[in-house]
Amino acid sequence: MSSNVRFTDFKSDAQPTWCPGCGDFGTMNGMMKALAETGNSPDETFVVAGIGCSGKIGTYMRSYALHGVHGRALPVGAGVKLANPDVEVMVAGGDGDGYSIGAGHFIHAVRRNIDMTYVVMDNRIYGLTKGQASPTSREDFETSTTPEGPQQPPVNPLALALAASGTFIAQSFSTDAQRHAEIVKQAVEHDGFGFVNVFSPCVTFNDVDTYDYFRDHIVDLADTDHDPTSYDDARSRILDPGKEYQGVLYRDEESVPYERSHGVDADMSDIPDGAPEDAMDLVREFY
C-alpha cells in the first residue's frame, strides 16, 4: 500500500455519461476519497459493479474492475476477495441491482461477512431503463409501469441488513461530500462486510426523492445521541418508518470477517508448476 495516493489516482480518463447533476458523481467521488484515505492504491483495488447507471462506475474509476451481469456483483466481489485477501474489494450497485434482482445475494453477502465494502447508489427508481419503479420506490410513486404507484411498501435495505446479522450498516447522502466520504471510509476500515446505502438522487426520472427532499428530511446521526455499537439503538432507528438517517447506524465491534473465521489468507494465484508434492496421498486415500 502506498501512502501518497491521491483520490484522483482512482479516476480513469473516461468521461462519465451519467446525466448532469446525477447523484452518482458524488457517490463515486466519495468512494475514491475513501479508498485513497485508507491507503489503498489502484493496483491493489478491485471494483465490481453490475448493470444499470451504477454499473458504469468501473469504467470511470481506475483500478482492477469488473462490470458484471445484473444483480450479481456481490458474488464476484466475494470470489476476488477470497482468492486474494490482500486486494481491497469495493462493490457498487443500484437499488434495483441490490434489492431486487440481487436481493438474495445481498442477504447472503451480509451474513457471510467477507471483508469488503458494498455501496448502493439508491435513487429509488430505475434510471437506465427510463423511469420504472424500483424496490425502494414509494408506495404511491407513479411511473410508466406503475401508473398508480407500486402499491407495495418499499424495501427497507437497512432492516434487511440488520435481520441478516449485518456487522456494519450505514447510510449517506451523495451530495454531502465530506460526510459521505467519511462514512464510506469507515465501511472500508470495518473488519467485515461494510454496507452503505447512499441517497444518490436521479435528477431525470425521480421528482419525489430529490436533493431538496433529502436536504429537508435527513437526520444526521452525528447530531443525535445515537450509539452505533448498540444493537437496540440501531434497531429502533432502522425500524422507525419515514426517517432518512445519515451516518453509521450499526457497527459490530466484535465482527470477525469470513476470511478469518474460515482461515482464508493465501493468495491463490500462486500455484506450483505441477501437482502438489504430496498429491499421491490423495490417490492412496482410495485404497
Partner: protein, 590 residues
C-alpha cells in the same frame, strides 16, 4: 469374456444399501480384484427402491452386464426389480424373519438362502449390523476369504472405535457360519484373490482429485445431484493446499464467485448439473466475453427441467455447445472413463488458462456415481503439468501497455490470445466487461473493433486446433467396414460389447471421443466406413448430429434414454441388430 461375478444388495433407501455395497466393493478391491459398481437409486432420502451392484473380476471390468449371481434382498421388490438379471443358480440371500420378507417367493431354479440376519446381528452386538451379516453370508456363498472383508470394515468403522470394528467382524462371521452350517451345497463360485493393490473411486471423486492436482484453489457450487460429490470431495481437502470451497446461495452466485476468483488469478471451478447450467447461462456469456479462464463441470442427468435427477442421460450436449445468447467460443471436454475424469480435469484447467475461455467439463451420471478400480499409477501425479498461459508480471506488463501506459487485456494478437494481469500487478490495471470492448477493455460500438474482437476470440479456437492433439481413442479393427462412435461413459460398455461381438465374428472400428468442441476431424474415418453407428444416451442423437454436420454423411444412431446406462451385452445386441438389418436389406435388394 473373463469369468466375472455379479453381486447386488437392494432394499429401501435408508436400509444402508450404499455403505454395505461400498464395504463389499472395497473388500474385493483390497483383495486384488477389479471392481465396477453401479447404483440404482431414487430421488428421495428414505423409502423407494435402491440397489448397489458390484461386478468383479481379476481382469479389469468397466461396465455392467445383464447378470446377477448373488443378490442380498431386503425387500420383495428387490427380487422383482432384478428378475431379468437373475438366472438359474442365482443365489438370493434374505431374512425370512423380516416382516417384508416373510412370504418371499424365490423364482424357480434359483437358490434362496434364508438367513436370520437381524437375529444374528443382535447376537453380535446390534441389529444395525444385519447387512454385515449378509456380507458374511455372501462370503460363504462366493468362497471369498472373510479376512478381506475385515480390512474394509476397519476402513469403514475405524473412526468409531475398535469395539465397533470387532462387533462387525463378528457379525460377518456369524453370517458366514450360518450358511456353511445350514446349507451344504456348493454354489459354484470362487473369487480368486491377487497381490495387486487397487484404488476404488467414482468419476466425481476423480474430478475433485484432478482439480486439486491441477492447482484449482477456489470452488463455489450449489448442491445438486449428481454433481455434489465433487464439492464434498474438495471440502476439507482443498484447504490443505491453500484453497477454499464456498457453498453459494444459488448457482448464479456460484459461477459469479468462481468468475471473481478466476480474475483474481486463482484456478477456479464450479460444478453443477443441467438445471444449474441453465441458471449459469447469463454469466457464462460474461466469462467468455471477458476472456476469463473458468472450468464449469456439468455432471449430466436426465432432463429436461427437473427430469429424472438420479438417472443417467447425455442430454446436455446442445446446451453446452450452444447455450447462452450470442456467439462465444468455449471448449467442451467429455471424459469417457473414470480415470479420464482425472486427466481431463487437469487438461481442462490448462486449456482454460492457455486460451482464456470457459471450459465445460462434462461427465454423465454413470461416470459420476459409479466406482471402478484402477492401479494407483493410473493417477500419476508426477506427470501433471500446469500451464498458465500468457500471464504478465511487473517485468513484462510494459510490453502490453499502450503509449499512455494503459494495459491491454484484450490486445489483438495473431493467435487470438491476449495477456492477463492479476490484481496487485503494478501497471496492469484494467476493467473487464461483458460489453463489447476495445483492446483496453473499454466499451465500444465501433464496427471495426467489434469485428476484430469477435475474430480475435474465435481465432483462439483455430489456435487450439493447431496446437492441441484433440485425438479420439481407438480400438477394434482399423480396417473394418463398420465404424462405431461414442462419447462419455459409453466407452466401457463399448469395449466389453466388442468382446461379445468379436465372439460372434462381427468386426468394427471403435472411436471414443473425449473432445466435443473442438473435436477431432472424423471425416476420413467416416468416409472409409460403409456404416457409421453413433452410440449415446439421449433421444435425438446430439453427438450424431455433429458428426453428420462435420462429415456430410448420414450415420446410424443407437440411442438410449430410459434413464439407465448401456449394458455391455445389451449394446452388443443392438449393434449386431443394426448390422443384421443392413445385411437383410442388402439381400432383399440383391
Amino acid at each position: 469374456m473373463p469369468a466375472d461375478f455379479n453381486w447386488a444388495i437392494g432394499g429401501e433407501a435408508g436400509d444402508g444399501i450404499d455403505s454395505t455395497g461400498k464395504i463389499f466393493a472395497q473388500a474385493l478391491s483390497r483383495a486384488g480384484r477389479h471392481v465396477f459398481t453401479s447404483k440404482d437409486f431414487a430421488s428421495r432420502i428414505r423409502g423407494g427402491y435402491t440397489a448397489y451392484k458390484v461386478r468383479t473380476s481379476v481382469d479389469q471390468v468397466q461396465s455392467v452386464v445383464d447378470r446377477l449371481d448373488v443378490l442380498i434382498a431386503l425387500t420383495q421388490r428387490t427380487i422383482d426389480e432384478n428378475l431379468d438379471e437373475l438366472h438359474e443358480g442365482s443365489v438370493i440371500i434374505y431374512d425370512g424373519d423380516r416382516t417384508t420378507m416373510e412370504d418371499v417367493e424365490i423364482p424357480e431354479g434359483m437358490i434362496g438362502l434364508d438367513v436370520p440376519l437381524q437375529a444374528l446381528a443382535e447376537e453380535a452386538g446390534g441389529a444395525i449390523m444385519r447387512n454385515v451379516v449378509a456380507l458374511g453370508a455372501a462370503c460363504a456363498v462366493s468362497e471369498f476369504p472373510i479376512e478381506n472383508l475385515d480390512s474394509a470394515l476397519e476402513k469403514r468403522f475405524g473412526d468409531k472405535g475398535a469395539a465397533i470394528v470387532e462387533n462387525n467382524k463378528a457379525a460377518a462371521r456369524k453370517g458366514r457360519e450360518y450358511v456353511l452350517e445350514n446349507y451344504d451345497e456348493a454354489f459354484g463360485f470362487e473369487l480368486e484373490c491377487t497381490d495387486e493393490n487397487y484404488v476404488l473411486l467414482n468419476g466425481d471423486e476423480a474430478i475433485g482429485m484432478g482439480a486439486i492436482a491441477a492447482g484449482c484453489r477456489f470452488y463455489a457450487g450449489y448442491p445438486i445431484t449428481p454433481a455434489t460429490d465433487v464439492m464434498e470431495y474438495l471440502t476439507g481437502r482443498i484447504e490443505q493446499y491453500g484453497g477454499h470451497v464456498v457453498q453459494a446461495e444459488d448457482e448464479l452466485s456460484a459461477i459469479n464467485m468462481a468468475l471473481g476468483a478466476a480474475r483474481a488469478g486463482a484456478r477456479s471451478m464450479t460444478a453443477t448439473s443441467g438445471p444449474g447450467i441453465d441458471l449459469m447461462a447469463e454469466t457464462f456469456g460474461l466469462v467468455a466475453t471477458s476472456e476469463t479462464p473458468l472450468v464449469i463441470c456439468n455432471v449430466m442427468r436426465s432432463g429436461p427441467s427437473t427430469g429424472m435427477p438420479t438417472k443417467q442421460e447425455q442430454g446436455d450436449l446442445n446446451a453446452m455447445l450452444y447455450g447462452g445468447h450470442g456467439e462465444v467460443p468455449r471448449f467442451v471436454l467429455a471424459p469417457t472413463t473414470i480415470a479420464e475424469c482425472f486427466h481431463k480435469t487437469v487438461e481442462a484447467f490448462n486449456l482454460a488458462e492457455k486460451y482464456q475461455l470457459p471450459v465445460y467439463l462434462t461427465a454423465d451420471l454413470s461416470l459420476a456415481v459409479t466406482e471402478q478400480t484402477y492401479p494407483p499409477e493410473e493417477f500419476d501425479m508426477d506427470a501433471v503439468e500446469i500451464e498458465r498461459g500468457k500471464v504478465v508480471d511487473e517485468g513484462t506488463v510494459g510490453e502490453w501497455q499502450d503509449e499512455s501506459g494503459r494495459f491491454k487485456p484484450h490486445a489483438l494478437t495473431e493467435d487470438g490470445i491476449s495477456p492477463r494481469a492479476f490484481p496487485g500487478t503494478e501497471g496492469g490495471v484494467h476493467m473487464s466487461t461483458g460489453l463489447e470492448h476495445d483492446e483496453l477493455g473499454r466499451r465500444t460500438e465501433d464496427t471495426d473493433m467489434r469485428v476484430r474482437q469477435v475474430d480475435k476470440r474465435t481465432r483462439k479456437v483455430e489456435t487450439a486446433r493447431e496446437r492441441e492433439p484433440f485425438e479420439p481413442r481407438e480400438f477394434g479393427d482399423p480396417d473394418a467396414d463398420t465404424l462405431v462412435l461414442s462419447w462419455g461413459s459409453n466407452e466401457g460398455a463399448l469395449i466389453e460389447a466388442k468382446s461379445f461381438l468379436d465372439e460372434e465374428g462381427i468386426e468394427a472400428r471403435y472411436l471414443s471421443v473425449p473432445y466435443v468442441f473442438p473435436r477431432p476431424d472424423l471425416t476420413d474415418a467416416v468416409d472409409a466406413a460403409e456404416e457409421t453407428i453413433v452410440v449415446e444416451c439421449n433421444a435425438t442423437g446430439q453427438f450424431a448430429d455433429l458428426i453428420e454436420h462435420d462429415t456430410l454423411t448420414r450415420v446410424t444412431r443407437i440411442n438410449k434414454y430410459d434413464g439407465v446406462r448401456f449394458k455391455a451385452d445389451e449394446l452388443a445386441e443392438r449393434i449386431a441388430d443394426v448390422l443384421a438389418t443392413d445385411e437383410g436389406a442388402e439381400e432383399a435388394t440383391a
